[in-house]
């Protein structure tokens, strides 16, 4: 008995839905008195209205005809009824690709940005079409009341792809940062999104904003103690983005060294930084980290253990002022590490001047600026800290 009742209810619901569609479509074609609302004037480019009307009489849900009606109405200078036709088409087929595209175009042309954004959201959600949809959404991003707030609130899955695409296509990273923040808050932010936005901010000299964006993507458990040197104890794997450690990329045989956060006896905690040089020429730092500390006097300290590091000049930690053009000014350098030694502390002073909003700490061949050097052996480092001195 329940099944029969349910079946009857479903049938009635379907009938009501069809009736509603018929009413909606007829509201486009005819006015309250039953007279056609079709524009009287006809041009050579106008569609065959009688054919359209016939199509719609036979099938009020024929969205193709509705779309053409909408276009014709707009062309005839009647955007109000054209909007109704698009709205009817959307109500009949809310996820139809043509309906979404054409209605979005219409709403964009007529400044109805929230409605346009809603359809663009659905297009991206159901069909991707990122190459078409994303440029439109990117242009809407800085516009007030464009409907982007609804998308941010909804936090759809495609938003990550949009953030990365828009970032790489030079959309202002300041506009993208709130999107990344929302995604980070729900655990959806990906490394490419974080990397692109923080890099763009950093490269444009917005170091504090870059640091804040990156901070906002860190998991809560990593925020308990964010050292000026992040992960100076090397206990966590390097992410390679933002203000985390960036080991040099490339195979060992090409770059001449291998970088690991490895377990070893004598390390403070479980792991320490191990850099193994294979005797090949070295021309770049093995590992580096960007920082954004305020001007002042500092001491960079740590512990080091050197295993048969054979080199004329050795390796050293340097703190440099990172410049926008990629060049950097050396602010301070550690002693040169070479030969062999057990774990021992080291420290050096560094002064970060005014006008240096961003810095880079890196382990480099000593005298790197003087030219290529050859290195073999292993260097271990642990507990790197940058401490402010008053």
């Amino acid at each position: 008995m329940d099944r029969v009742v349910a079946w009857r209810a479903a049938t009635v619901a379907l009938a009501l839905l069809l009736l509603w569609r018929i009413i909606a479509v007829n509201a486009v074609l005819f006015d309250a008195t039953g007279r056609p609302q079709w524009p009287a004037a006809a041009t050579g480019a106008a569609p065959d209205r009688s054919a359209l009307a016939a199509v719609l009489r036979e099938n009020p849900g024929e969205v193709a005809a509705l779309l053409v009606v909408a276009q014709d109405l707009e062309r005839a200078g009647d955007p109000v009824r054209a909007a109704k036709a698009y709205e009817s088409a959307l109500s009949v087929a809310p996820a139809d690709r043509d309906v979404l595209q054409m209605s979005a175009d219409f709403f964009l042309r007529h400044g109805r940005l929230r409605e346009a954004t809603r359809q663009l959201d659905r297009l991206a959600e159901h069909y991707g079409a990122y190459d078409r949809v994303f440029p439109a959404l990117a242009r809407l991003l800085p516009v007030k009341d464009s409907g982007w707030d609804a998308i941010v609130e909804r936090n759809p899955a495609w938003l990550g792809a949009f953030v990365v695409t828009a970032c790489r296509q030079s959309v202002d990273p300041g506009l993208l940062a709130p999107l990344l923040q929302r995604r980070a808050a729900t655990g959806r932010a990906t490394a490419p999104e974080t990397e692109c936005i923080t890099e763009r901010l950093r490269e444009s000299g917005q170091w504090e904003a870059a640091y804040q964006v990156w901070l906002n993507t860190l998991p809560r458990e990593r925020l308990g103690n964010v050292g000026s040197v992040f992960n100076g104890g090397f206990e966590h794997a390097a992410s390679g983005i933002g203000f985390d450690w960036r080991p040099s990329l490339g195979p060992d045989r090409q770059v001449g060294h291998a970088v690991e956060f490895a377990t070893t006896a004598g390390a403070i905690g479980k792991r320490a930084l191990r850099v193994t040089y294979n005797g090949k020429p070295q021309a770049a730092p093995a590992i580096r980290q960007f920082m954004a500390v305020v001007p002042g006097r500092y001491e960079l300290s740590g512990v080091a253990r050197i295993d048969a590091l054979n080199s004329v000049r050795g390796v050293q930690w340097t703190l440099r002022c990172a410049a926008r053009d990629g060049l950097s000014t050396r602010l301070a350098a550690s002693e040169r590490f070479l030969g062999s030694s057990e774990w021992r502390p080291f420290a050096f002073e560094a002064v970060v001047p005014e006008g240096c909003p961003g810095q880079v700490l890196q382990l480099e061949p000593a005298g790197m600026d003087e030219g290529t050097t050859f290195l073999s052996g292993t260097a271990w480092f642990d507990e790197l800290r940058l401490t402010r001195r008053r």
Binding site: P47, D48, A51, L52, V55, E62, A64, A65, L67, V68, Q71, V92, A93, P94, A95, D96, R97, D98, Q101, M102, A104, D105, L108, G111, L113, A116, L123, R132, V133, A136, R139, L140, P142, V143, K144, D172, G174, L175, P178, Q181, A184, A185, E208, A209, Q212, V213, L215, N216, R220, L223, G224, N225, V226, G227, S228, F230, R385, L386, T387, R388
Partner: protein
């Protein structure tokens, strides 16, 4: 004799009670004693991740954490906090703001000092009229549109 002793004990007790009450009143009437450690403010109403600078970087700031002059307080996304000075001045920070604890400034100045680190570029906000959005799809005739639709697979609707 016994009753006199009792009376004396009673008087002594009353005296002690009165002294204690007087002492309590003195203590209560004094301003709250401040720690003599150089701190001049504390965190209140901590909500979300609030970071406080120290010599070696930033650390989480908890409710009632005492703050020295020169300390920077930073709120992350969705975080808020109040920096409450010992003189009663309250400086409220919203999300993504930075504030440096300073000594000797009027409260009105301090309250206006929280600095927003992430600012949406206002200059990029464009008027509707000048926004040019690329068209997604061109015009179509009923014939071609219906033809195209009968050849494609059904949409999710």
């Amino acid at each position: 004799m016994k009753s006199a002793t009792k009376v004396n004990r009673g008087k002594a007790a009353m005296r002690r009670i009165a002294q204690a009450t007087a002492l309590a009143l003195v203590v209560v009437s004094q301003p709250q004693a401040q720690p003599n450690d150089g701190t001049i403010a504390r965190l209140r109403e901590v909500s979300g991740n609030v970071l406080v600078s120290n010599e070696a970087g930033l650390a989480s700031g908890d409710e009632a954490l005492r703050l020295m002059p020169g300390t920077r307080v930073i709120t992350t996304a969705n975080a808020e906090v109040v920096v409450e000075y010992d003189d009663g001045c309250r400086v409220k920070l919203k999300e993504n703001q930075r504030f440096e604890v300073e000594k000797g400034k009027p409260c009105a100045v301090l309250v206006a000092q929280p600095y927003t680190i992430l600012v949406t570029p206002q200059g990029a906000i464009a008027a509707l009229a000048v926004v040019v959005i690329p068209a997604l799809l061109g015009a179509a005739t009923v014939g071609s549109l219906i033809d195209a639709r009968t050849k494609t697979t059904a949409s999710p609707s």
